[in-house]
Structures are given as C-alpha cells and as structure tokens.
Symmetry: C2
DNA sequence: TATGGGTTGTTCGAATTTGAACTACCGGCT
DNA sequence: AGCCGGTAGTTCAAATTCGAACAACCCATA
C-alpha cells in the first residue's frame, strides 16, 4: 500500500506537470487534449458525444461544456448525426488536427520524461497489462463487487453510427 | 504508449469509483479523504497548512477551502502555530479520526479490488518503485528538464514546527 | 533596530466538473 | 397509427480547483 501512496502522489504530480506544460504550450487543458486525441484516432475524426464521453471518461455534461469551448476555438465542429436525429457528432477540424500535431510532441515529452522513461521494458509491459485489465474491469457499467467475488467478463461491441467508411488510422494517439 | 492510454483511462475510472464509494459511504471527497489520511499519519495528528498542501499535492487555496469544509464538519480543527505567528496547524479531531477509521475499510476495498489485487507481487513491487521514483523526480520545485538531460538529485529536510514530541505512528495510512 | 527579500495562509474571481432535470427522438408492440 | 420505456444532448445550480493579489510575519544583515 506504499504502492498506493506512491501512485497517488505521482499521479497528482504528473497531472500537474501535464496541465502546466499543455496550458503554457497551447492553451489546452489536459481534458481538452484527451478529447482531441480521441477524436483524431476515430474513423472520420468524428464521434458521437456519448461515446466520446465514455471514451474520455467524463460526464456527458462535462463533454458538452468542453466541446463548446473547443468549438469556440474552431478546433472542433458539431455536426448532426445522419443516422440518428437526436445525435451529434463532434468532428475534429483541420485546425484542431494541426493544433494537436503541434502540441503532441511537448506533451509526449513530459509523459515520457516523468513516467515512461522511468520504466524498464518489462515494467512497461507489466504496467500496460495491469492498467488495461483494471480499466476493463472498471469499465463495466455496474454490478461489480468491490470485495471482489463476482467475476464478470463482458466485452462490448461498437456500431458504426458515424456514417463513415473507416478513414483515419491511429490519429495522434492519446499520447 | 498504449501503456499511457491504459494508465489514463484506468486512473480516471478508478478515481470515479473511489469518489463514488467514498461519497456514498461517508460523504467525503477523495481530496478530503487524502487530507484526513495525511493528518492521521502526522506526528500529533497535525500539520502546517503549506506542508499539508505539498504533501497532498493541492494548491494552497485549495487546501484552505477543503480544511474550511472539514472544520465545519468538525473533523479537523485549526490551531495557531506556536513557533510561527503566521502559521496555522490543521489538527485531526477525534471525530475526524473515527470518521476516517470508519471509512477506511471500504475505501481500501475499492483500491485493492480494482488495482492492487490485479498485480502480481513482482508487479506490485515494480509499481511501487516506479511511482516512488517518478514522484521523487517531479517533486523538485522546478528546473527539471522534460527532455531529460539535466540530472538533478536534491533531497529535502523537514523541521519540527508542530511543537510535538512525535506521537502518532502510521495513522490510517493513506490507503 | 530598521530594512528588504522571502514565507504563510486567506481571499477573490474565473474556469471546470458533476448529477439531476428536461426536451426531443428512437423503436418495438398493440 | 399510437403508446411507452429508453436514449441523446443540453441546461442548470452547486461544488471544487487553481492562480494572482494581499496583508501579516520571519529573519539575516547593515
């Protein structure tokens, strides 16, 4: 549990560094950066609000706010969803993309310098495996027993609601 | 960097779970819990505002706010610092302590279930080492080169400003 | 002992975040 | 066609965070 203590302070400090660097370097919030990154990696550089929210792990209202902000800066645009009248697609604009590309290097540098580079190859692999598993477990909407005696497994399938024929590749991956 | 992606979502999800459990279980915020935990582990269950802020990794103003909140609930008390006229000591009250003891088990359960228990002993050890090192690096006030070609080392010494002769032991450790 | 740079904690305003309430739309069934 | 439980996004109020500005205090030095 000294592990937990360490994790806590490290994550907080890292978040600070990231926020600092990002803000100074491009006026973006870490939350905003994550949103842009997710969009850049999505087919057609667009995503339904709800899925984007789930993907970035923010509340729906939080996303609405942030998208509004990004829209005002011209980095993202809102488009009506063709397949669903109520739906809204957040689309990464060209300006948004170039902003992301311009910002990514510095951001990556921070993450690497303070976290990734501290790991040996094995540790990195372990970390990936661990965090992925943890994320998978916590991703299930509910019914998880914190005491840990349930044993869920669930996988989720996604449907193409974007009306795109899969463009884009890896985008400016989260990093 | 899939490591970073995984880390990001996992940490966000974990934070949510923690917040949820904590709020439902005792009306505390994770930030508040961390503050109480830090205090419980401090000699005399008290700490100077600034050090507490640094320890919990929150801004000074943030701590002031949170301590005010906790004080209003009677979990913490503000005491004038004997050795420094401007200083303020945040003291964990008995009610605060029992609240913490009452809350800790559930909190620990969540952290373990979703993160710790996912790790093998070696991974746990690795995680501890890594996060500790990262935290140490990022803790230095400034002058750190994200590109990583400086090589600082610095250690910090603390002075006993609490006017206590070292009571308390491990407290309800951060867990 | 007066001075000046540095520290301490609080206050203030601005930015974010979240959950609840709400409106509009989707789809299966009758 | 009409109904109904459910979903999508937005709006709203409340809570929290941070940084800058402040007033009070510490202390090494002239």
């Amino acid at each position: 549990m000294s592990a937990w203590m360490a994790y806590l302070t490290a994550s907080h400090l890292l978040e600070r560094r990231i926020e600092e660097q990002l803000k100074a370097d491009s006026g973006l919030t870490h939350a905003q950066y994550e949103i842009l990154a997710k969009l850049s990696a999505a087919p057609g550089r667009r995503m339904r609000m709800t899925e984007l929210a789930r993907s970035a792990v923010v509340s729906k209202s939080g996303l609405t706010y942030q998208i509004g902000r990004l829209e005002k800066r011209g980095l993202v645009a809102r488009v009506a969803c063709p397949s669903d009248e109520r739906g809204v697609l957040a689309v990464l604009t060209d300006r948004g993309m170039s902003c992301l590309e311009k910002t990514a290097p510095g951001h990556v540098a921070v993450v690497r310098a303070f976290l990734i580079d501290q790991l040996t190859p094995e540790e990195l692999a372990g970390m990936t495996r661990i965090m992925s598993k943890a994320a998978a477990v916590m991703a299930s909407p509910y019914g998880d027993d914190p005491t840990g005696m349930t044993g869920t497994r669930g996988t989720r399938g996604t449907t193409n609601t974007t009306g795109m024929t899969s463009t884009a590749g890896t985008g400016v991956a989260g990093v």
